[in-house]
Amino acid sequence: MKSVSPPPTAPAPPRRVGERLVDQPQVPLLGRIQRAMHAHPLLGPTAVLILACIFFTIAVGPRFIEPLNISLILQQVQIIGMVGIAQTLIILTGGIDLSVAAAMVFSTVIAGKLAAEAGTPPLLALLLALLTGAVCGSLNGALVTRFRVPPFIATLGTLSIFTALNLYVSGSQTIKANALPDLLLWPGQTFHVLGAPVTFGSVLVLAAFIVVSYILRRTAWGEHIYAVGDNAEGARLSGIRTSRVLISVYIVAGVVCAIAGWLLIGRVGSVSPFSGEGVNLASITAVVIGGTSLFGGRGHVLGTLLGALIIGVFSNGLTLTGVDVLWQVFTTGVLVIVAVGLDQWTRKVAG
């Protein structure tokens, strides 16, 4: 290709002087990166994700970045991602939900029992599972708003309650794929993109992120969620029905967990009352890596998607490099800290 040099007489672009009262002075590169990241809070997690991908592509070889593996990573993070959406909503209000995994599993057990044993039509079973999620969420919401139990404790309590109910209803028995209707297994079905199998579940998760991101940024409800998390008393004084906002958030989070349950059935290919271990902590981790503040009111759900992907890329990449499980645990710990530390550094500019 022929390289084109600029015509020597080209006039300098007109500089708009005095546009601001005080001219923005020259800032060193590092400072400019910091500022850009501050203005676009998703840049930090995105950078971490890209760096991680580059690192693993070098360490593992092109196998890491090929469509098949990307599709695999997407499948592996879909549950954490979906539950992470629920967790983000709740953390944005200044709460935390320890019962997400239990609610998710409980709704799968309900769906499975109904469809496989009670002979309920598949669609109805699925809807009832979503309803279960909503009921779980509204219990949490009622405890938090009506009885003023702090979210941590309310959901710690319901974690036990849902777990017990779950074991009771399921009788600790797994329901196998062949007893389940196709509808329940649908999120695990695949279609092909670039020769790589992609599950409908992965698509569902991505769609859910887009929808929730839209809701949070573009609707009044989203606005109120942020306001409640930012300053609950101020929001109340501004005429926002804070209790109603909170309850609705918990209910929506419950339904999202139930959808995550559906994905779980599709992914595992059965209904197992013991699934979902580690999902609580992983979902919170994804939210925080994504830059959402645990104190509420600040953050973005797309950050959670990035957070979940970062977790997935690390876990997949470390396995592919052949690191032993002991050192995977170690490295994961280090990486979580580094990812968030890097993100914090970009925020320091706010002073």
Binding site: A59, V60, G61, R63, L68, N69, L72, Q75, Q76, I79, T163, A164, L167, G171, S172, Q173, T174, K176, A177, G188, R267, V268, G269, S270, S272, P273, F274, S275, G276, E277, G278, V279, S315, N316, T319, L320, T321, G322, D324, V325, L326, Q328, V329
Partner: protein
């Protein structure tokens, strides 16, 4: 990742339980002998299916030739195993059989029910003519397969009607004082035993899910001054456990052979890679039984057992 050796993965339930740590070490040794590269992975808990599924997928992606797995969930893991086998990977199940066992290429496992039956029978001989008061120290409220099989095996071996064999705690025998969960560790064993003793101080026979739980239980028995009145039985066959048998803290334990499981599985994988042969299962079973041996210094009539000297020579770690 640059090595040209064929890759084999080992997926255990947890990475901290000595049982699986020893299994991993044994496998590592054997793999080196056979010229494999071994990658060890694990779930995050006794019932963490999701991590194991991920581990299988990642191993397939890494191009593993064989996978050994101790499944946390004997049924939920099946689709992932199928995926691996469809990709041409030889899957050997270790320790806890899948349901059905035929879902894997080979299974090397302890018959956990049998392990329970052995200590149950042994205990029955110690309590002939004496009223037993039994404490059952189980794993977790979740009633996972190992937990149920060992618990029910023990009760059946002891001669108690277990009612539903797939359910802990539905027995109506008055000799059972109660069930408590221990999370299979010392602290849990101690607390559970204290609680049951407080409920009924006449307890004289204690079943424990594994030897760490037994060690914890024995601490509380000792603290209550009942060490001469209570018999503890357990399952595992780890070296600390055998030492406890020798010291009299545990009356008898059923020894399993995790190193043999891993070793046999690696052999089978090796053979399969070489010429495609598949191993046969033990007679009358749908899996290869790596056996259980009762270890006790008080041999009982009608129950085969080995003494602790043999136990110490054969324990797994």
């Amino acid at each position: 990742s640059g090595s040209s050796k064929p890759l084999v993965g080992l997926i255990t339930k947890t990475d901290d339980n000595p049982y699986y740590v020893k299994m991993r070490e044994g496998a590592q040794q054997k793999a080196a002998e056979l010229g494999f590269e071994l990658q060890a992975l694990s779930g995050q808990g006794q019932s963490d299916n999701d991590s194991q599924v991920k581990a299988i997928e990642n191993l397939i992606a890494r191009g593993a030739k064989g996978i050994m797995i101790a499944p946390s969930d004997s049924e939920a893991i099946l689709p992932a195993i199928k995926k691996a086998r469809d990709a041409g990977v030889f899957v050997a199940v270790l320790d806890s059989p899948t349901n059905p066992a035929s879902a894997a290429d080979a299974t090397y496992a302890t018959d956990n029910f049998q392990a329970g039956v052995l200590i149950g029978k042994w205990a029955a001989t110690q309590f002939s003519g004496k009223q037993a008061r039994i404490a059952m120290l189980d794993l977790s409220p979740a009633q996972v397969a190992v937990d149920v099989q060992r618990d029910q095996g023990f009760l059946q071996g002891f001669g108690i009607d277990v009612a539903d064999k797939s359910k802990i705690g539905d027995e109506s025998d008055s000799r059972i004082v109660g069930h408590e969960v221990t999370n299979a560790n010392e602290a849990g064993g101690r607390t559970a035993m204290e609680k049951l003793l407080q409920r009924d101080r006449s307890i004289n026979l204690v079943y424990t899910i594994n030897e760490p739980a037994a060690a914890g239980a024995f601490e509380s028995i000792k603290a209550a001054g009942l060490e001469n009145k209570v018999t503890v039985v357990s399952i595992d066959g780890g070296c600390p456990g055998v030492k406890d048998v020798k010291a009299g803290a545990i009356g008898a334990t059923s020894m399993q052979f995790p190193l043999k499981m891993a070793g046999d599985a690696l052999q089978a994988i090796s053979a399969y890679i070489k010429d495609g042969t598949r191993p046969a299962t033990s007679q009358g079973l749908d899996f290869t039984n790596t056996g259980v041996t009762l270890i006790s210094d008080k041999p009982a009539a009608g129950v085969d057992s080995k003494d602790t000297a043999w136990g110490l020579a054969n324990c797994w770690g």
